[in-house]
């Protein structure tokens, strides 16, 4: 909603020195949001004054244009030093008589031709500056010394009209004659503040100057005059016949005006207010209709009475009906749409837009004015269904005061007659103003909910000022809201009204004492620890969008049966190219990796913890009512229909893990780092992880490990498949990891137990074992560990050797063994026995002790 301060001031007795910004603050205190306050007509500096055209001569130019050489009286105080050249060649320039003696008129060249001698015009004198930095100076043009400029509307920033110069009406808006030489913009009342306010859905009554003035007056504690001053008469049908056939409209006012002059022009003051409110001036009748809508909040419609056929009927649309609306769109109507119809069928979409057949023409002299009330939900649904939002529908969706319909229709009629002639000949009122819902509240409720002392007298006084009908019963109040306050229904709605009008600034600040809490859960702490450990280890966390596409899944190399194809699809994705939700974090991470690479970051180590989504099918989630807690069965059904949404950890590394430096060459990033990341993740949360060779897209088949916790695969890591690296344009040898964090953390159990640390010396033995290439380090270590028994403290792989004398197809793996006992120093015999047992056990994986 845009409205000027001067318009609001017409109905709220604003103090003279109140600035537009002050007014904005008063409205903010009342619960409105003020997006901007801008001054219009203020972009002009220097002398721009009211002038009187004394006379002119028309002079055709070689370029075909006709200019006027004018003499203008701009007031004695602005008179030039010297006489301008006379109008007629060889004539004389007569001085003007001022109070302090004679003075010269100004000579001005003007290109417009829409004015006559004695017209009052706006003159920009030399030294003034118009919007856009347009400086006015005396200059020689078309053979004359032009000593100023007669202005058009657009030149003053007042509108877009450049049809001709501004010709002022005979008097100002208050009927007082113009003072020649006075500042034109102040005299015309065009310097004003425009407030722009988005209106929330509970404050539909503020989509009007009336509502804003009421709130401003209440906030500033000044007098308010209601433009809606006429009560709604009882139903009668003296005028145009109307039938209401749907409960979506309970009130319909139709006034008939005859003898209207369709050629009458809109006065400047009305055009300026409409322009400031963001509306275009079109014709007097349309302008009046819009003006009254802005002023009262009541949308209204003017029909050409001669184009109507039979009674106006408000009804739901019938199957197959069409309507060409004023925006020139042929709309197929829905059975739930409410229309205004006459004998030919629908002529308007109720509360949204009229139809073309009955719109006003430039010959219309008989007008039927409609002002009705329509149900907000019906209008909102039709508006959404037809993707058609109008000034009218925006208001009806938020409730229009039914008590304003009659008065607003009368205001339309009065303005049409005042400005365009004619007479109000008949009126029809169908239906009645609905009764508003009664509510009873304890008088102490506002104080109890707000937490600040509010005496009962204040509650009553505040509500009455807001228009609420209050029956004071001592401990309780019976309340009926005014017809414009659709939002006052529940007891708490009145609490809010009292809170706002008393002022939230008065709320005390009290921290509520919470009961003892449990702190972060084990899972929350584990996730935090995980992120921080991985960050400390060198990974940068990124947060990517969860959108995905079939193309991504194909590029990952997933086959048709892969569980990551069980995606959730979106009805209205932001991009048609990514209509799915991700089942893997990797494509998003690859995108981030590629973006970093393209920006010159060659060494990449990125991670993300985020949810992935696996569909649970297409069954609808239940939509129970809200009047009570849904049953557990319904809540279970909601849970069952939601997708599975586990949190995954994803990571990608490429380039160098350590770049080349003064210490030596670069250490490349690859599968080792993501395996290390997996180990670190497991160690951080406190589970033991096993890596098993695996084949899984999108990884390299020989360089992929399944990550296993407690026998359950929680994720995969390794170098990416070259085809995937190519498909995602990643650096060669890029490696990645993805694991299910929820599953990883689920393996964390119990408080853990601490060892008794042995103080006895360690005994060290190295063994080199020859095994087949296919045997893994983990298999050998596991066999050694099992064989060596409890004296073994650790077995660490420290060397792998291939080549003579080790046979081809085999490798030698050297382990450093450490033995220690809890209660004694081991003897050489004990150590030798344990070593032999380890070697023997390694035989189970085909290992033989390497010959010395």
């Amino acid at each position: 909603m845009r409205a000027t301060k001067s318009w609001i001031a017409e109905y709220a007795a604003l103090p003279d020195d109140l600035s537009g910004r002050d007014l904005g603050e008063a409205l903010v205190r009342a619960g409105l949001e003020v997006e901007s306050v801008e001054t219009i007509g203020g972009d002009v500096s220097g002398p721009v004054v009211i002038g009187r055209v004394l006379g002119f001569v028309e002079e055709p130019q070689k370029n075909g244009k006709v200019i006027r050489w004018c003499h203008v009286d701009a007031g004695a105080q602005h008179a030039p030093q010297d006489a301008p050249a006379p109008l007629e060649r060889g004539g004389i320039t007569a001085p003007l008589q001022g109070e302090d003696g004679p003075y010269w008129p100004r000579g001005i060249v003007c290109g417009a031709s829409n004015f006559n001698p004695e017209d009052r015009v706006v003159v920009a004198l030399p030294g003034s500056e118009l919007p856009g930095g347009f400086a006015i100076a005396s200059r020689k043009t078309y053979g004359h010394m032009s000593d100023g400029m007669i202005c058009a509307e657009d030149e003053l920033g007042l509108g877009s009209d450049h049809q001709g110069i501004i010709v002022l009406p005979s008097t100002d808006a208050e009927g007082v004659a113009w003072t020649i030489g006075a500042g034109a913009l102040d005299a015309m009342g065009v310097v004003d503040d425009v407030l722009e306010m988005p209106i929330t859905s509970d404050m539909g009554y503020c989509l009007s100057v009336r509502g804003l003035a009421r709130e401003a007056a209440q906030s500033l504690d000044v007098a308010f005059t209601d433009v809606v001053s006429l009560p709604t008469p009882a139903a009668h049908a003296d005028g145009y016949p109307v039938r209401l056939e749907t409960p979506a409209s309970g009130l319909f006012v139709a006034l008939t005006v005859e003898g209207f002059d369709p050629s009458a022009a809109t006065p400047d003051w009305m055009r300026q207010r409409l322009t400031a409110a963001g509306m275009r001036s079109l014709s007097l009748s349309i302008d009046v209709s819009n003006y009254v809508m802005l002023e009262t909040g009541q949308p209204n419609h003017c029909y050409d009475a001669d184009a109507l056929r039979g009674p106006l009927v408000v009804r739901t649309a019938a199957a197959g009906e069409h309507l060409v609306t004023l925006d020139d769109v042929d709309r197929t109507l829905d059975l739930a749409d409410v229309v205004i119809a006459d004998d030919r069928g629908p002529i308007g979409l109720a509360g949204i837009m009229g139809g073309q057949d009955t719109e006003l023409r430039d010959t219309t002299t008989r007008i039927v004015i409609e002002a009705a009330h329509f149900d907000p939900v019906t209008v909102a649904r039709s508006s959404r269904r037809h993707k058609l939002s109008s000034e009218a529908s925006r208001r009806f969706e938020r409730w229009v005061d039914p008590g304003a319909a009659y008065s607003a229709a009368r205001r339309v009629a009065d303005l049409l007659i005042e400005l365009g002639g004619g007479a109000l000949v008949a009126e029809t009122v169908a239906g009645a103003v609905p009764t508003m819902p009664t509510q009873r509240i304890e008088v102490g409720l506002p104080e109890r909910v707000l937490g600040m002392p509010i005496p009962a007298t204040t509650v009553v006084e505040v509500l009455r000022r807001s228009g609420v009908e209050v029956t004071d019963e001592g401990a309780a109040l019976t309340l009926v809201p005014p017809t414009w306050r659709f939002d006052l229904v529940d007891a708490y709605d009145y609490v809010e009204e009292v809170g706002i009008k008393v002022g939230f600034d008065h709320l005390p600040s009290v921290v509520p004492p919470a009961p003892v809490g449990g702190g972060l859960t084990r899972e929350q702490m584990a996730r935090r620890a995980l992120l921080r450990a991985l960050a400390a280890a060198g990974f940068v966390e990124v947060l990517t969008f969860p959108w995905a596409s079939e193309a991504d899944l194909d590029a990952l190399g997933l086959d048709a049966s892969d569980e990551r194809r069980a995606t959730v699809r979106l009805v209205n994705p932001l991009a048609d190219t990514a209509p799915l939700l991700r089942t893997s974090l990797l494509p998003g991470l690859f995108g981030a990796a590629q973006r970093n690479a393209s920006r010159g970051v060659d060494d990449i180590a990125l991670m993300e913890i985020g949810r992935v989504f696996f569909t649970s099918g297409d069954a609808a989630s239940p939509e129970p009512g809200v009047s009570e807690r849904p049953s557990d069965a319904v809540l279970d059904e909601i849970a069952a229909t939601l997708p599975q949404q586990p949190r995954h950890l994803g990571a990608v590394v490429a380039g160098a893990w350590r770049p080349a430096g003064w210490q030596g060459p670069a250490e490349p990033a690859g599968w080792q780092q993501v395996f290390g990341l997996a180990e670190l993740a497991a160690r951080t949360v406190g589970v033991s992880l096993e890596r098993r060779p695996a084949t899984r897209a999108p990884w390299h088949p020989g360089r992929c490990a399944a990550l296993v916790v407690d026998g359950q695969v929680v994720g995969y890591a390794g170098e990416l498949h070259p085809a995937v690296i190519k498909a995602f344009s990643l650096p060669a040898r890029t490696a990645a990891l993805e694991l299910d964090v929820d599953a990883l953390i689920a393996g964390v159990g119990g408080p853990g137990s601490l060892p008794l640390v042995s103080g006895h010396p360690v005994a060290k033995e190295d063994i080199a074992l020859v095994v087949d290439e296919a045997v893994t380090a983990a298999q050998v270590e596991s066999a050694i560990t099992a064989g060596a028994g409890e004296l073994l403290e650790s077995a660490t792989l420290f060397d792998i050797y291939r080549g003579v004398p080790v046979p081809a197809g085999k490798k030698s793996m050297a382990f450093a063994l450490r033995f220690r006992a809890q209660d004694r120093t081991l003897t050489a015999e004990e150590v030798a026995l344990a070593r032999e047992a380890a070697i023997t056990a390694a035989g189970q994986v085909g290992a033989t002790l390497r010959a010395e």
């Binding site: 939900v377 937490g451 600040s509 859960t521 989630s621 009570e628 849904p630 003064w662």
Partner: protein, 369 residues
């Protein structure tokens, strides 16, 4: 037959002269002082107090003196030798210390050389800030609640008193899960977690709900369709809007120091009364208002920064969760993490928060600070 063994054979000796002993001591001390290396000092020691040194020979001769002279000479010899041993030890310590210093000096390194740390990792500023804000509440005894991001419409809208005709439930605001009509959406706020908390937790409830939310929004410098919120919910007996004010003042002070909050009336379906919460500018504290000489970039010289929405929980919401609004009242609030990061840490472009450029994530050392 061999000649006399001068070293061992007893022979006529002179009494130990004081001058001679002093000269020996002086020579030895001079030699020790002159030694600057361990090797020099070793040579001086052998020469002046070694077995064949003049003082050792003189000592040997003492035994051949008559008893009276022997006692006197022995005492003087003992003092002299004690003096020399002390001088030697002192010099030994000096020389070793000098030698160590020289050795250490020769081993000095350029301490400014780059060293091989792990690559520079970082948690994302959004994550850091979300944790930081959560911790303010955990310290107050609240708990952190979480919930799914694909959510049932009933939890995201209906239970929050957002009726089926509310414009927010249109495709221009909300992202819906296919097929159309399955009543599932990408949650548009973390408020469904509040409903879940009311449904699942015993009363009273004091929870904060941080998380990712989704809107069908443009993606540009000031809008992002995937963003983060933190919401708080308290439902208890006797809770008032003054408790809401106290809680948000505390959060503001924990995050920004000595600042206040301001409530401006607003409308949300799930709270009644509802308010926008403004934060007093923590940079200029309002000093920039109407003062063009000292403009404030943080609050754009308005003195206040819009931070979030809040209000008293609408009794309709409590009813939908099966809580008696006659017995319990509550308050709720929520704010955007990205927005907080923008004014708190000067983040200028929303796109930087989601593009994954490591330079953005790495910039806030020490997490969100």
């Amino acid at each position: 037959m061999s000649g006399p063994n001068d070293n061992y054979d007893p022979k006529q000796v002179a009494a130990l002269s004081a001058e001679a002993l002093e000269a020996m001591v002086a020579d030895a001390e001079a030699a020790f002082a002159a030694a600057t290396t361990t090797a020099d000092l070793k040579a001086a020691r052998l020469a002046h107090v070694g077995e064949k040194s003049p003082i050792a020979l003189a000592n040997r001769e003492i035994g051949a003196l008559p008893p009276a002279a022997r006692k006197d000479a022995g005492q003087r010899m003992g003092r002299a030798r004690g003096q020399l041993n002390a001088a030697l030890a002192a010099r030994q310590a000096d020389v070793e210390s000098a030698e160590l210093e020289a050795a250490l000096a020769s081993e000095s390194v350029d301490v400014t050389l780059p060293v091989a740390l792990a690559p520079e990792g970082a948690i994302h500023p959004i994550t850091g800030l979300m944790d930081l804000m959560s911790d303010v509440f955990v310290a107050m005894g609240w708990e952190v609640a979480e919930g799914p991001e694909v959510e049932a419409e009933w939890l995201n809208f209906d239970a929050l008193n957002i009726g089926r005709d509310h414009p927010a439930r249109g495709e221009s605001d909300t992202i819906f899960v296919a097929p159309a009509g399955v009543h599932r959406v990408l949650r548009t706020h973390t408020s469904p977690v509040q409903i879940r908390s009311l449904l699942e937790r015993p009363l009273p409830v004091y929870v904060v709900c941080p998380g990712t939310v989704y809107r069908a929004d443009e993606f540009d410098a000031t809008h992002v369709p995937v963003f983060h919120q933190i919401e708080g919910l308290v439902v208890d007996k006797g809770i008032t809007m003054a408790h809401l004010k106290g809680t948000l003042d505390h959060l503001a002070q924990a995050m920004f120091g000595d600042v206040r909050t301001r409530f401006r009336p607003n409308y949300f379906p799930f709270t009644e009364p509802s308010a926008e919460m403004d934060l007093e500018c923590f940079v200029c504290h309002g000093a920039s208002v109407g003062n063009p000489d000292a403009p404030c970039r943080t609050c754009r010289s308005e003195g206040w920064i819009e931070w979030g929405g809040c209000g008293v929980v609408n009794p309709r919401v409590l009813t939908a969760a099966g809580i008696d609004p006659e017995e319990y009242t509550g308050f709720a609030f929520g704010m955007g993490i990205e927005r907080t990061l923008m004014f708190r840490n000067n983040a200028a472009d929303m796109r930087d928060m989601v593009e994954g450029d490591v330079r953005f994530s790495r910039a806030l050392k020490g997490e969100a600070r």
